[in-house]
Amino acid sequence: MDEPSDRILVLRVRRGEVDAYGEVVRRYQSSVYNVCYRLLGERRESEDLAQDTFLRAFRRLDTYDVDRPFGPWIRRVAANLCLNHLNRARPTPYAFDESRDLPANAPSTDPAAVLERRTRAESVRAAILQLPPHYRAAIEYRHFQDLSYAEIAETMGLTISQVKTYLYRARRTLADHLSDEHD
């Protein structure tokens, strides 16, 4: 039997079938976690924020338009929550655990290639995490959630001109960090 669509699951949850939300969580937990991890860079904190994302989304499920895809909506909720969290929290030193933060799907088993990809990915993550929170969020919305300037502006409460500025400054900083790594 076909699995129920996201729309059906959400409508069931809205009718009071709370258990249907479990399937929603199972479907989106990985992508929501990755949003949090890109923005926070710490596994435990990202898990907690991913969990909070699903709780917040549950409380706001009546604001979700069931005719639009669920994934982008919940990922945007996650990014908003992380940005608020970053704005409240004190900056913490960033450190990856190589053996722990493994890619979800390693496309090659060649150890040298795997190591190179991992090192490169870590450099990119580290560079993103060195950006100020609002630049980080702009990068997340644009590159990982594919939001337009207008959508980013609406989500972050900015003007389109500010979004444009945030993005090019964030990218310039990223490029500087990444070129420093190479030098």
Partner: protein
């Protein structure tokens, strides 16, 4: 766009161009400049490489399933069956009170005459009358059939019903009560 042969494309415009956010009217000028400017083409290429680098960042594996934690933290919603059982439970309580009222009143009058008794009996009688009044007004609204059912219920004196008759009804009432309070409907969540 502020751009001539001598002045290069502003960085924000290169970004907007790659983001497909540059106004359509500004695009031909930018593309014309790119065609003739090695430096801006190289800047655009570097920016494109950065886009690819960022966007190909692999996902990391989630180390634990978040489902149970989320589901445990969700506010409880009444199970649909539990809602029916709660109504049944309420009805059962009203029927029980209606049945017990005459016997209870008799038992109370047998208590020794004290201040407590003189306060308690009228209070209990009023409370029971108010609660059973809901049933009675409901029965009136439903019609004569419900009134007949109510009268036959009143004719029963539960204290004089043999336990073999009362037992199964008590068991049923207990089951409805347990289910209504969700003791029988709890899931692993």
């Amino acid at each position: 766009m502020n751009m001539t042969e001598d002045r290069h494309i502003p960085e924000s415009d290169l970004n907007a161009y790659l983001d497909s956010e540059l106004p359509a009217t500004a695009r031909p000028d930018l593309e014309r400049h790119l065609a003739g400017c090695d430096r801006c083409r190289a800047r655009l290429k570097r920016l494109e490489t950065l886009f690819v680098t960022v966007e190909t960042l692999p996902d990391v594996a989630l180390q634990r399933d978040l489902t149970s934690g989320v589901m445990e933290a969700l506010p409880d919603a009444p199970h649909p069956t539990a809602r029916v059982l709660l109504v049944l439970e309420a009805l059962l309580a009203i029927v029980g009170l209606t049945l017990l009222r005459p016997s209870l009143s008799r038992q109370l009058t047998r208590l020794p005459q004290t201040d407590l008794r003189s306060t308690l009996i009228p209070w209990l009688n009023r409370a029971i009358l108010q609660m059973t009044g809901v049933w009675e007004s409901g029965a009136e609204a439903i019609g004569s059939l419900a009134q007949v059912a109510l009268d036959s219920l009143r004719a029963i004196d539960p204290l004089n019903v043999p336990f073999t008759t009362l037992g199964p009804w008590l068991a049923l009432a207990t089951l409805v009560w347990l289910a209504g309070n969700r003791y029988l409907l709890r899931t692993s969540r």
